[in-house]
Every structure is written in C-alpha cells, then in structure tokens.
Symmetry: D2
Subunit: 100 residues, 4 copies
C-alpha cells in the first residue's frame, strides 16, 4: 500500500563534469537500500511513499551522501501524486497509462 | 537565513472546474500564516526553508486544508534549490537573475 | 540517436473526476503513434527527441486530442535533458542510474 | 493576450561552479530582449506565450547562447498552464493566488 507516488530527480550542481552517473547511481543505491518500492526512469525515479515525512527523511539521506562525495549544491525536482480516495501503485499507474 | 529555496506548485485534481483560484488562495493563506518568507509567482510560490522536515510539515498542513475542502487528489510539483556553501534568499536569487 | 531526453507529464484539469486514466492513455497512444522512442513511468513518460520543435509539435497533437475529448485546461510538466557533448538514450540513462 | 503561462527553469550542468548567476542572467536577458511579458522568480521565470512553437524558438535561442558560453549540457524544467476557456495573464494569476 502507498498513499503517494513520488517522482524524484536529483541533480548535483558545480561538480565540473557533464556526467553525473556516479552521483545518480549513489542516489539509486540509497533508494534501493531504504527498502522502498521504486522504479528507475531516465528523468525521474518513481517511489511509493506513505507520508511527506518519509520523503523528507529520504532527502536527508540523499543530501548526506552527496555532501560526503563533495557536492555543495543540489537541485531536486519532485512531483507528488497524492490520492486520498485510493491507494497508488507504480505498476498500476503505468499499466493504466499503457491501456493494459 | 535559509538553507534552501523551495518552489512549490499545488494542484487539486477532480474538482470539476477549470478554475482553481479558491484552492490556490487557501494554499497561499497557509504559507503566509506559517510565518515563512515567501513570494507568489504565476506558476510556483517560492519559499525559504531550513529543512526537508519543514517542507513535509507544510505539505501536511496544505493537504489537511484541501481535504477539508473536499479535495480527493492533489498533484504537487516541488523544485528545491539546496546550497551547502552559502545561505539562500529569494530576493537575492531574483536580483542576480535580473543582473541587479 | 537523440539530442535530448524529455520527461513529460500531462494533466487535464477540471474534468470532474480524480481518475485521469482515460486521458493519460490517449496521450500515451499519441506518443506511441508518433513513432518516437519512449518509456512510460508512473509520473512521467520519457521520450527521445531531436529538437524543441519536435516537442512543440507533440504538445500540439496532445492538446488537439485532449480538447476533442472536452478538456478546457491542461497542465504540463516537462523536464528536458539536453546534452551537446554526446547522444542520449533512455535505456542508457536508466542503466547508468542502476549502476549496470 | 496569452494562451499559456510557462514557468521556465534553466540549469547549465558541468560548469564547475556552484554559482550559476552568470548563465541565469544571460537567460533573463534573452527573455527580456524577446519582448515577451515575463516575471522573474527565485526558482522559475513566468512567461506569457501563445504557442508551443514560440516556446521551442525561445529554447533554441537560450541553448545557442549557453553553448556560446561553453555549456555542454542543459537541464530545463518547464511547467505549462494552458487554458482553452480563457486568456491567461501572469499578474492576474498572482493576484488570484494572493486573494486580491
């Protein structure tokens, strides 16, 4: 069960390289290790969450890890789909968008 | 002082009207009453915040108010600019973008 | 080859229902029929594109279809990753984020 | 008159500095010189536009200028509010959000 599906994009700024794979991979590791249900996309990672607090805790972990890698500025883009009338699931949202 | 500038867009879905002014005004009221430094734009409201937890608490308040108005689904878009190397201020960011 | 990966979210407003599956499925149909390489996510659809004009043409088609369905207001969120130094591919971006 | 209000954020990647003021100022210059009605925010610049093609042309100009400055990767976040039932104005949207 999930009360919201959050689509998260994390971009470290000022790293001096157009390649951000190293940082993005670390962010994926943190999400995976958190035990949350997620799915990686090209622009955003979809994550099933149950509260805004849970999102805040995840962002804290991501910031800590990136700062440990030397990052001094982070840009996040977050889209939250929060339904009160029913549970949300990543796979169900995708199946419906595909008309399956 | 602020550790991050958050640009927040809140859209209630399924309200049955193309006009969302009533809901958007309520969201602005919540931000104003929270005592945070903010600035309303056409697409996003910029807010100075000090932690992701503070953002989570604000989203909880917004959700509670919209649900009390009968809203059953909410779409948020959030851009977070988090600098570790210096404090961020809404007015300073705008002045620099304008080249003032 | 693709010069940019665009992550696109399309939300019809004022439809009177919290369910948007019918509209979202139509948008996916348009993207599929356009022959572009794409991948559906829960929050965004990733699309490989070669110019901003191509994106504009796609948005025109989407608007036309939604308006034909009776939609009177549309909210789009678009993230564009544009690299000048190398070609971008959806699958490669995902593989790198997953550390594969 | 404007058929859409576009909120635009432009971030050059791989510049090697956490400060992006120089690039952001250039983007504001391009928007100003284009003669479009706009308003600078901390996270996004709101712009009144009449077509997706007009947006594509603006992004082309911005890319050209940033590439001339040496930028090799650009991340854009774009929110488009498109109403078919009425004209949109930046100032009116802000006034309504503020409850004026």
């Amino acid at each position: 069960m999930a009360k919201m599906v959050v689509s998260l994009s994390v971009t470290p700024l000022g790293t001096g390289s157009t390649s951000l794979s190293k940082h993005v991979k670390k962010v994926t590791d943190i999400i995976r290790e958190s035990g949350l249900r997620y799915r990686t996309g090209a622009g955003f990672t979809d994550i099933e969450l149950d509260s805004y607090r849970q999102l805040a805790d995840l962002l804290d972990k991501i910031e800590k890890t990136l700062v440990d890698m030397g990052v001094q500025r982070i840009s996040y883009v977050v889209k939250i789909d929060r339904r009160i009338d029913k549970e949300l699931f990543i796979e169900e949202k995708i199946a419906r968008a595909e008309g399956i």
